[in-house]
Assembly symmetry: C2
Amino acid sequence: MEDGVQEFCPQGVSGWSFAARPSKTARDRIMRAASYLFCNHGFAATGVDTIIARAETAKATLYNHFASKEELIAAVLQAEGETWREWFFGRLAEVEGPARTRMLAVFDVFGEWFSDPGFYGCPFINAVAEFDNGNDAVRAAAAIHKDHILTWLKAQAIELRVTGDVAEVARSFAVLIDGAIVATQHTRDPSFARTARHLAEVYLDTLTKR
Amino acid sequence: MEDGVQEFCPQGVSGWSFAARPSKTARDRIMRAASYLFCNHGFAATGVDTIIARAETAKATLYNHFASKEELIAAVLQAEGETWREWFFGRLAEVEGPARTRMLAVFDVFGEWFSDPGFYGCPFINAVAEFDNGNDAVRAAAAIHKDHILTWLKAQAIELRVTGDVAEVARSFAVLIDGAIVATQHTRDPSFARTARHLAEVYLDTLTKR
DNA sequence: AAAAGTGCAGACAGATCGGTCTTGATTAAT
DNA sequence: ATTAATCAAGACCGATCTGTCTGCACTTTT
């Protein structure tokens, strides 16, 4: 098969992708295979036969663990989100300095993520784009994931003692984050992280300076 | 069928969507139906049978006009892109004032687009998200579409006599545009256009003021 | 050691996929 | 008016889709 056995996103480079975590049980192998295939080739385009072939397991095993493909998709999104957030907030926790430094460091961490050769964009953005008007459950899952990030951003904004609406600051960062992800996905140019970071800088300047 | 006969994106509200244009020939009906279904339910998830049912035509008719579903997808993206750009640049052409005003008006026009009840995001972003690593042709089509916008932005930036790299200005706008589109698609909240506009304002200030 | 329980392999089923082909209707030309 | 030519309708095909079922192998318990 053309996908080979190579696994992008090795641990240590970018924590993203459940597919890169070690696994033993059949359930884990299924999750790994499904994550890789869903994220790289699309959710609808990936069949369960392809998944079990890559997971080196059987169809009954898959349906023993997941009631349906839809449930498997939900489980994959959940796992990808958790894994990524652990990595993301872990990297941010290493950043020292005031709130402004931490908020801008967001885009440095994104730059690491974008530089991963296996970068395929944000699974939640991709899932919403693929299902969109047909699936509100996917949009809800994406909203939860994004809420984790927005909450963190709002906490930083409060610590920064910004003038004006804290929620609007988080919304502004959401635009920069989503834009950087999509632009990078399209161009494969990770330097959009720096572009977004610069936009964030000039924006934060207007909130703190007076 | 649950989709009914309603067509979002009526002319005059938002020029986007080839699906909303009048048509007579079978080819046009196919294009309209395919545009609507691809954009609202996904490319892979939409079968040719569904398309011809909505277009009220036959399968042979579809394959007389398009060699394959892949070619139909390409034609739809091409048509959607052209229709949208005609509408978008047409709206921008109505804007009076200096380059800065025109550049910021971009986000007002996006706001109109976002407010369309049938807004489903950018077909190119959605297509790249769905196929991604499996289809460079789609990414190329998206790049051409985005290039039209970037070229326009660069021309405005030159007229604005910005300090620094004109291409970087266009890249920054690309981040804001993509981010606003995706954020709106996820939240269905068209006010992200204003958020992006404000970010553009403070960014342009740093380029012109001194 | 025997029996009950657990879990995976692969055949199978019904539906739907993209794509082909024959047939019929309509149009145009002589 | 008759023939030629074009195009579309829908039956049809093999492949593939999601999901089920049977059977075998291994583990655990008493």
